[in-house]
């Protein structure tokens, strides 16, 4: 391992990128916990170093022809070998850059957002931990190492969601996120084991080799693929494990921005992309993934149509967009899915950070409230939010348009037209709910705007600018990233132009996608934007539907019911009965006899146990001496 490193010293940058945040975390936790400013500085310096390293690597290896892997053996036991190290291929290079870049921006932004919070140091420590886990996850060359960091990502997001742990709902939300993602992770672990037994190791390279299909039976392969996908479902909040993500909004807003764009939920889709060739060996599994992606996308989009909480809307849209990525990947569009992952990371972070500014200034999450209080006076966040929203809706020429269009192109190559139709419906709904939010905030209906908020932060104070700068950067990236589609595609495919992967050229499709997005925007304009509009969505005119959507399709209720009836009602009851009747009573009867006989012997014992022990040990020692002479 060291040999390879020494041949190409630039690889040390990868090591550095994946270690520095950990050092920052440890230093903050151990040394500088009482000094918030130093802690924040440490954390930001660390993530800046990581970002610089990843940009360096990206530039150095731009146009890489074959992937690079540096590994050493970690554990060998019997026939199993687990290696440790890192892998550099277009996917991991891009993701590292995105992860460290967005972490950096979010951390800078948090300087303003979290200013004065009593847990400031702790916050930055967790942020570093999060960044470390995610960067290392992205660089992992085998699934076991990936799994370790996968869980670390889970832990650190648990810590961050429940950051304000004095608040009951926050700690509950953290717990819920942790437990629900764990559910998926159990499936993931089982999947890894089903792979480990026949294959003997879990290297990504080996899983992705085309002849994996010949080393294990097809049924087994499908089973492992489905089980591993369970992990993706949990992490990326897909149906049916999607309800933790909206609750995770209890954390500080920058955390949501990080969680929803580059780290936590992206990990799931990243895993899909990481072993994409493996998954695509099993067409049956891919169809299941496609269905799950579609269901999640549509379900979440409907939920977003009635939410009033600005963060909730973005949360649902994250689920929906993740479903969209999974649809793209499952339909065989590796590049389209990854490209959407990257663009989505940019604009979703932007949207959340903008929402954070509003929440910080107006101290409210409700979009009607913010609109009434005159949200549009905050020019920079409002403008940035519109840019982000347009990208989310897929309006040209923003980044989201290109990546969505790529996914739709891929879906069009599927035989079944159902998926394409669902995707187009999704585009319309996305544009609708996004612009519903924008119009509500831009054109508040009820009367004159109230006087500017009296909260003490001067809008143009230092806090404001530390928050606004990352917004501007992200908005700029969102504006230009779409045009990088061709070079990115070539890079991701190692310079080989694999034609049909991205479905360009179908003019009709392009028009349909744009028309869908514009149609959604117009519908939103008609209901919320135009003068004298009622500001009531068409969904809300049908009370049954509105309740269904705002209750999240009763998913949480169903889970609760299942938990109460099946788990507590049947399994626990049986276990309790077994405990009380068979184990307790049987053991009692048996031991009562023993205790009875023990009482007779107990008369022989008296106290002063330590002196007795002392004498005993001394005698043993003397016996030893006697033995040697």
């Amino acid at each position: 391992m060291l040999g390879t490193l020494n041949q190409q010293p630039i690889l040390y940058a990868a090591v550095l990128a994946s270690v520095v945040p950990l050092i920052a975390f440890l230093l903050i936790m151990v040394v500088t916990r009482r000094r918030p400013r130093v802690s924040a500085g440490l954390s930001i310096v660390a993530i800046t170093i990581a970002f610089a390293c990843s940009v360096l690597l990206l530039v150095r290896y731009w146009g890489l022809a074959a992937l690079l892997q540096v590994t050493g053996t970690w554990v060998t036991t019997g026939q199993f070998t687990v290696s440790i190290g890192f892998i550099l291929d277009p996917l991991s290079l891009l993701m590292v850059t995105v992860v460290s870049g967005i972490s950096l921006l979010v951390q800078v932004y948090s300087l303003g957002y979290m200013a004065g919070d009593p847990g400031f140091s702790r916050y930055y420590a967790y942020m570093s931990l999060f960044a470390w886990a995610m960067i290392s996850l992205v660089l992992s060359p085998n699934l076991l190492q990936l799994y370790v960091f996968w869980e670390l990502v889970g832990v650190s997001s648990y810590l961050l969601i429940g950051f304000w742990y004095e608040k009951f709902s926050a700690s509950e939300a953290g717990k819920k996120a942790f437990v629900m993602t764990r559910l998926g992770d159990v499936a993931f672990l089982l999947g890894l084991l089903t792979l480990l037994i026949p294959l003997g190791n879990l290297d990504v390279l080996m899983l992705n080799s085309p002849d994996i299909g010949s080393t294990m039976p097809a049924g087994m392969l499908t089973l492992s693929a489905l089980l591993i996908f369970g992990g993706v479902v949990g992490k990326s909040a897909q149906f049916p494990l999607l309800t933790w993500l909206p609750d995770a909004m209890e954390g500080p807003t920058p955390v949501s921005a990080l969680l929803h764009s580059a780290t936590m939920v992206a990990a799931g889709v990243f895993l899909f992309a990481r072993i994409f060739p493996f998954f695509s060996q099993s067409p049956a599994a891919m169809t299941v993934f496609l269905a799950i992606g579609t269901i999640s996308m549509l379900l979440a989009a409907t939920m977003a149509m009635v939410a009033r909480d600005i963060k909730q809307v973005w949360a649902y849209s994250t689920i929906s967009q993740l479903g969209f990525m999974i649809m793209g990947l499952a339909a065989g569009g590796y590049v389209a899915g990854v490209f959407h992952l990257i663009t989505h990371a940019g604009f979703k972070a932007l949207l959340f950070l903008c929402a954070g500014v509003f929440i910080h200034v107006y101290d409210s999450n409700d979009m009607f409230e913010i609109g009434r209080q005159g949200g549009r006076r905050l020019k920079i966040p409002m403008a940035c939010m519109i840019v982000g929203a347009a990208a989310l809706s897929g309006l040209p020429p923003l980044s989201g348009f290109f990546s969505k269009e790529a996914i739709i192109g891929v879906l069009a190559t599927q035989d079944n037209r159902l998926w394409l139709g669902a995707a187009l419906v999704g585009v319309v709904l996305t544009a609708y709910y996004t612009f519903r939010l924008i119009f509500i905030m831009l054109f508040p209906s009820a009367g004159a705007p109230s006087p500017p908020p009296t909260s003490g932060h001067g809008h143009h104070g230092r806090d404001y600018w530390t928050m606004a700068t990352p917004l501007l950067i992200l908005a700029a990236v969102t504006l230009v990233l779409g045009f990088a589609q061709t070079p990115l595609t070539q890079f991701l495919l190692f310079g080989v132009d694999a034609g049909g992967d991205h479905g360009h050229g179908e003019r009709g499709l392009l028009i349909a996608a744009i028309a869908g997005a514009v149609g959604g925007v117009l519908l939103a304009w008609f209901e919320f934007g135009r003068k004298g509009s009622p500001q009531i969505g068409f969904v809300e005119r049908i009370p049954a539907l509105a309740t269904l959507f705002s209750e999240r399709w009763y998913l949480d209720r169903i889970y609760r019911w299942l938990l109460d009836r099946v788990v507590y009602g049947v399994f626990s009851r049986l276990a309790t009965w077994n405990d009380e009747r068979i184990i307790n009573d049987g053991v009692d009867a048996f031991s009562d006899r023993l205790v009875g006989s023990g009482r007779i012997l107990a008369t022989l014992h008296r106290g002063m146990i330590q002196y007795k022990l002392l004498v005993m040990f001394s005698v043993v020692a003397l016996l030893g001496l006697y033995f040697f002479f």
């Binding site: 036991t77 009380e580 031991s591 330590q610 002392l614 001394s618 020692a621 001496l625």
Partner: protein, 175 residues
């Protein structure tokens, strides 16, 4: 001085130091934590001495299960560290004499027998080998050990589960 021996002595020093700290702590939580460090050291030592399975088990059972059990109990019974002398003189002096005896016996054992002089020839017993050996040569012992664990489980439930008769006068047993 090979790397092997450097590692060995470092580990030995860590184990001895942390154990010494553990047995002299007034606060039992600290004592347990120091002992966990000591057990981690022992686990690494086992690994060094070619027993990877035992190294893993040492961490899982000793450091993981047993020490956590201790922590539970220490926290459960919330005993206040006593204010007086940590080691009473009446007990300390005889104990020192006795330890001296042990040192003497140990010295005789180590110096009196030359079989232990030669250097270690590093070797590793693969978990598979150990497992096959245990289940082939010692299967009766395995059975006995499992029975022992069962008895321990039952015994712990009985001893720990019952509340003392005088402090809780006859509460009717639930079902």
């Amino acid at each position: 001085m090979t790397l092997y021996s450097i590692l060995f002595y470092i580990l030995a020093a860590v184990i001895l130091a942390s154990t010494a700290m553990a047995i002299t702590r007034r606060d039992m939580v600290h004592a347990v934590i120091y002992l966990v460090v000591s057990f981690f050291g022992s686990a690494l030592l086992f690994y060094l001495l070619g027993a990877p399975l035992l190294a893993a088990l040492e961490i899982i059972i000793y450091a993981g299960a047993i020490m956590v059990l201790f922590l539970f109990i220490v926290m459960m019974i919330r005993i206040r560290p006593s204010a007086g002398r940590l080691l009473s003189r009446v007990q300390l002096l005889p104990a020192i004499v006795m330890s001296g005896l042990y040192v003497v016996v140990g010295a005789f054992m180590v110096t009196g027998d030359t079989a232990g002089r030669g250097d270690f020839q590093p070797a590793v017993a693969a978990p598979e080998t150990l497992g096959q050996y245990v289940f082939q040569q010692h299967w009766v012992t395995v059975e006995i050990a499992s029975l022992l664990l069962l008895v321990a489980l039952v015994g712990a439930m009985i001893i720990g589960g019952k509340s003392p008769p005088e402090s809780h006068p006859p509460v009717e047993e639930k079902s």
